[in-house]
Structures are given as structure tokens and as C-alpha cells.
């Protein structure tokens, strides 16, 4: 029985990992080798032309590096604003009693039920009327914060000892400096989880940039990959090179900070209220 379970687990792990290994190995092979079966899981030589073609683009415009930069800018800024706004609001909801607080919390939680896919068209119309298509502001604005982040920060801060906050107040600290110097540093695990989850989801975002990034300069990685995949001159190897480049940053993040990815996933199952 023991051996059966070990075998099943190892076989499943290999099966699940194989497409990722395929992506990396295929990115290092000439196109004709990729479709030669049986597939060589270890490339004979390191064929780097694919990477050159992915970065250069079929038209030689070198737009991919710019698109990668865009993804970093958008995902980075959205992570920062999401953490700051969620922490601020979560702190307010956790530690400051005021009339209507429960209603505010409920309203914010209600936005979880509005799927982005259902409001993308009105948002697009808002963006066109504000004339922010093709800008970083346009890419960032709809994602400044989210209900899940606020929920996460509120749950985390609700057990924070009031004595520490009161002591700081008696020492003459202002509320904003308490937030900045006591609350934020002391919520590091929640902040890290939220920042990483937000970064990942923005790195993955296809739908919104598809609507509002029309010019090549303002596209993000997912859009480049879609475009690159559609072009006739893209061979399989270059396609996988583009995909590998898109995946390396997020995989590095995953391998070094896997704890936060996992805690992010399991957070859902421990959510109360």
C-alpha cells in the first residue's frame, strides 16, 4: 500500500511538472526537434536562437523587453497600492469603532461578488471617457485595492494588542505614524502574502490590458504572448522561449517565497465570517 501511494504521488508530480519542463526544454531546441517523437527531454545542445527571436520579435522591433517592463511596472505598483490601501482600510475596520462600520465592511465584502468579467465593459467605457487607454494609469486604476486584501488585513489586525497602540498614543504618536511605524511593520506576513498574490494575479492579467492597451508600447507580457503565438513566423521554439521568459520571474518568486503562495491559497479555507 505504501509503495502504491509513493508511486502514485511521484507519477502525478512528474505528470504535473512535465509541461513546465517541456516549456523550458523546447525553448532550447530548434523547432524541428520539438516535434520529433519520441521527445528528447534533455536538449542535445543549448540552442539560444529561440530566445533571441522571442526578444527581437518577428518584426525586429524589440518590443518584448518593453512589454516585460510594463508588466513589472503595473504588477509592482498595483501590489504596493493594494497593500497600502488594504492595510489602511483593514486597520480602520479592525481597530476603530464608528457608526456604520459593519455596513461599510459588508459593502466592501459585497464587491467580492461582482466578477471583473461582468463589469469590464462599463469600466472600459469609463476608461475611454477619461481618455486613459494606453496609459499606465489606465492599466492600474481598476485594481488599486480589493476586498480580499482588506478582509485579509482586517482579520490579521483584529487580534493586534490595543495596549501597544494606546501606549504609542500616550507617547504622543499621531494616528498616521502609528499606522506607518507600528501596524505596517508588524503585519509583515500578511503584507507579504497579499503583495505576492497581487503581483501574481497582475502578472497573469490578460482581459483588461486586452481591452485598453492598443499600442504595442503599452502591452503587457500576456498580450505579447498572444500576439506572438498568432504570428505566422513564430516557430515552436521561439514561442516557448517567450513563455519561459514570462515564467522565470514568477517561478523564482515562487521557489524563494513558496511559503506565502501556499499560505495565500490556504487562507481561503480558514476564512471566518
Amino acid at each position: 500500500m505504501d509503495i502504491v501511494i509513493w508511486t502514485l504521488l511521484i507519477a502525478t508530480a512528474l505528470l504535473i511538472l512535465s509541461p513546465i519542463v517541456f516549456m523550458f526544454t523546447a525553448s532550447l531546441m530548434p523547432a524541428r526537434d520539438i516535434v520529433k517523437m519520441p521527445y528528447r527531454w534533455i536538449p542535445e545542445e543549448l540552442y539560444l536562437d529561440n530566445y533571441a527571436q522571442a526578444i527581437k520579435g518577428n518584426d525586429g522591433s524589440y518590443i518584448y523587453p518593453r512589454n516585460i517592463l510594463n508588466s513589472f511596472i503595473v504588477a509592482g505598483i498595483v501590489s504596493v497600492t493594494t497593500v497600502l490601501l488594504s492595510a489602511l482600510t483593514g486597520y480602520g475596520l479592525a481597530k476603530f469603532p464608528f457608526k456604520g462600520r459593519n455596513l461599510v465592511f459588508l459593502l466592501i465584502m459585497a464587491t467580492m461578488m461582482i466578477p471583473f468579467e461582468a463589469i469590464m465593459i462599463p469600466l472600459y467605457l469609463v476608461a475611454t471617457s477619461l481618455n486613459i487607454q494606453n496609459t499606465y494609469i489606465g492599466l492600474i486604476l481598476p485594481f488599486l485595492t480589493n476586498a480580499f486584501g482588506i478582509f485579509l488585513m482586517r482579520q490579521y489586525l483584529i487580534t493586534f494588542p490595543d495596549e501597544i497602540l494606546d501606549a504609542a498614543r500616550i507617547d504622543g504618536s499621531g494616528e498616521l505614524s502609528i499606522f506607518w511605524r507600528i501596524i505596517l511593520p508588524n503585519s509583515a506576513p500578511a503584507v507579504a502574502t497579499l503583495a505576492i498574490l497581487t503581483f501574481r494575479s497582475q502578472w497573469d492579467n490578460l482581459l483588461w490590458p486586452l481591452l485598453i492597451s492598443q499600442s504595442e508600447e503599452m502591452k503587457t507580457i500576456p498580450l505579447y504572448i498572444v500576439k506572438f503565438a498568432m504570428e505566422k513566423h513564430t516557430n515552436e521554439g521561439a514561442m516557448m522561449a517567450a513563455a519561459s521568459i514570462a515564467s522565470i520571474p514568477i517561478l523564482i518568486l515562487f521557489i524563494t517565497l513558496s511559503k506565502y503562495f501556499v499560505s495565500g491559497a490556504s487562507l481561503y479555507s480558514s476564512r471566518k465570517g
Partner: protein
């Protein structure tokens, strides 16, 4: 004197409370509540993208059109097939994998990470990888021919209607199985060890323990996983988008989100796309309501 002071502090605290929540509230007002109300409003109009003509009020005509349109019902069908076809295997296999991992004393972390890794990749990257694997000359045909003992058959992963449906399900299953496995692991870890020990003392074997102790106590996790995976599936877009863009037939995988996108951006029909958005919203609202209801009926074991 003391009471007045206390009142003053409370007053001050309330003011700061509002100050802290206002930015987010303003944000949600503009970027969540306004758009959904706007979608509802627009769905009652005949409105074209980029058109200079003012929109005309047509009442429920968009909805009537959709409910009579075979194309829309096809989208509902495609979405439902995809959702049911994905979430049931995910439910079964993530529970199995989680129990397997939890039964090991070593390498738990390694397996969790290995299973979870596809979930961190972008959906577009995932779809691109599978486009190559499912190519007629690709690994999928070689693998299927090997497993089924056939020779040189092309299974038309991206060409025949049923196979392309199956392929989108496969991609999604591959991508999210690890994510839900981790949620089940959290659920399994929260069952007190003493319950399993008590069952063993009463003479239960591993299978009986799993069936009579683990499964019932996992009900809240199971509810959570099914609702979450269902909601995820209803919103699926990237895989179907990339597959159809690279030549897969549209009809079998024309899910609602893809239809909304095409109706608005390709056909410029904003009113009808809004009506579709509202229907999608109502479907998802129904499932969210179901989640609340199901999680409340969990009784003692309700730790959601």
C-alpha cells in the same frame, strides 16, 4: 470629567476610522458599484461602441433577444460543460492527492510545491504550452497512442468539438489541481488527530476512517472547494481565447466571457454585451448565495 474625556476619544477614533476606510470606499464606489449599475442600465439600451448616435431605450429587448438566441444558449452550454467537467474531477482528485500527501511523513512540502507550480504560471503561458503539446505532431498524440496502444492516430485535440472541450478542461485541471489540493491539506490538517486515533481504537481501518471520519468532517472544505472552483470556471477566458485565436473551433468553447468580449469588442454591441454581463453576474451571485447557505448548514464542523 472622565466621561467627557472618554467621549472625546471615542469621537476622535470614529473620525480616524472613517478617514482610514474612505479611500477604499470611494474606490469601490467608482470601480465596482458604479460599473455594475451602469451595466444594468446599459443593458436596457441599444448602444453601439464608437457610435455617435445616442443610445435608444429598448427595455428588456436585449434580454429577450439573448434568451431566444441559439448562440447565447450555446455559450451557456459551453460554460456549463466546462464548469461541471472541470470542477468534479478537481474535487475528487484534489481530495485524493491531499490525503495521499498527508499520509506521508516526508516530502510533504515537495509534493505540495510540485502540484502547485502550474498555478503560478500565467494562464496565457499555460495555454501556449498546451497548444504545442496538443498539436497533431505533439506530445499528446504520442502519449495517447502509447497509452491506448494505438498507432499514429491523430486525436484532433484542438479540432473536433468534443476534444477541444476536453482540452480546455485538461488545461484548467492541470493548472488548478495543486491549488485546491493545498486547500484540502489545510482542511485535513484542521481535523484533530485524536478523532482518527479514537476511530482506530474502535477498530476502524484506514478506509473506514477516511469514509466515516475524514469525509464528513471535511464538508466545509468540500463546499468551499466546489464553490470556489465553480466560480473560477464560470469566469474562464484566457485558455478559450488563445485556443480560438490559434484556429480551434469557436462554437464548442465559446464560453460566456468570450462571448461578452466578442460581442462588445468585435461586434461593437455594448447593450447586448451588458445584458450578458448581468446574466453572468446573476449566475455567479446565485453560486455565492449557495456558498453562504451551504457554509451555514455546516453546524459544528463549520470552520469556514
Amino acid at each position: 470629567m472622565k466621561r467627557i474625556l472618554k467621549k472625546g476619544i471615542e469621537h476622535k477614533k470614529a473620525r480616524w476610522g472613517w478617514f482610514f476606510v474612505l479611500p477604499s470606499l470611494a474606490f469601490f464606489a467608482v470601480f465596482s458599484f458604479y460599473p455594475i449599475v451602469n451595466a444594468l442600465y446599459t443593458s436596457l439600451f441599444r448602444k453601439r461602441l464608437l457610435s455617435l448616435r445616442p443610445p435608444t431605450f429598448i427595455g428588456l429587448e436585449n434580454y429577450e433577444y439573448l434568451l431566444k438566441s441559439p448562440d447565447f444558449w450555446n455559450s451557456i452550454k459551453a460554460t456549463l460543460i466546462f464548469t461541471i467537467g472541470t470542477f468534479i474531477p478537481i474535487l475528487v482528485f484534489s481530495l485524493l492527492l491531499a490525503s495521499f500527501i498527508m499520509s506521508r511523513k516526508r516530502f510533504q512540502k515537495f509534493f505540495q510545491m510540485a502540484f502547485y507550480s502550474p498555478a503560478v504560471l500565467s494562464s496565457v503561458v499555460a495555454a501556449a504550452i498546451w497548444l504545442l503539446i496538443l498539436d497533431p505532431r505533439g506530445l499528446a498524440n504520442t502519449g495517447a497512442n502509447f497509452l491506448l496502444g494505438t498507432k499514429g492516430i491523430d486525436y484532433k485535440w484542438l479540432a473536433s468539438a468534443n476534444m477541444v472541450r476536453f482540452s480546455t478542461i485538461l488545461v484548467y485541471f492541470w493548472k488548478y489541481i495543486g491549488y485546491f489540493t493545498i486547500i484540502y491539506i489545510t482542511g485535513l490538517a484542521s481535523i484533530p488527530q485524536s478523532l482518527h486515533e479514537a476511530a482506530m481504537i474502535d477498530g476502524a481501518n484506514g478506509w473506514k476512517d477516511f469514509w466515516h471520519i475524514t469525509i464528513p468532517l471535511l464538508k466545509p472544505t468540500t463546499v468551499l472547494v466546489s464553490i470556489m472552483s465553480m466560480l473560477q470556471c464560470l469566469k474562464t477566458f484566457s485558455t478559450q481565447y488563445l485556443f480560438t485565436q490559434s484556429g480551434a473551433p469557436l462554437e464548442p468553447i465559446n464560453v460566456i466571457t468570450l462571448n461578452i468580449y466578442n460581442t462588445a469588442i468585435r461586434d461593437h454591441n455594448i447593450g447586448r454585451a451588458s445584458a450578458m454581463s448581468i446574466i453572468l453576474f446573476i449566475i455567479m451571485l446565485f453560486f455565492t448565495w449557495l456558498q453562504f447557505k451551504a457554509s451555514r448548514s455546516g453546524g459544528e464542523v463549520d470552520y469556514m
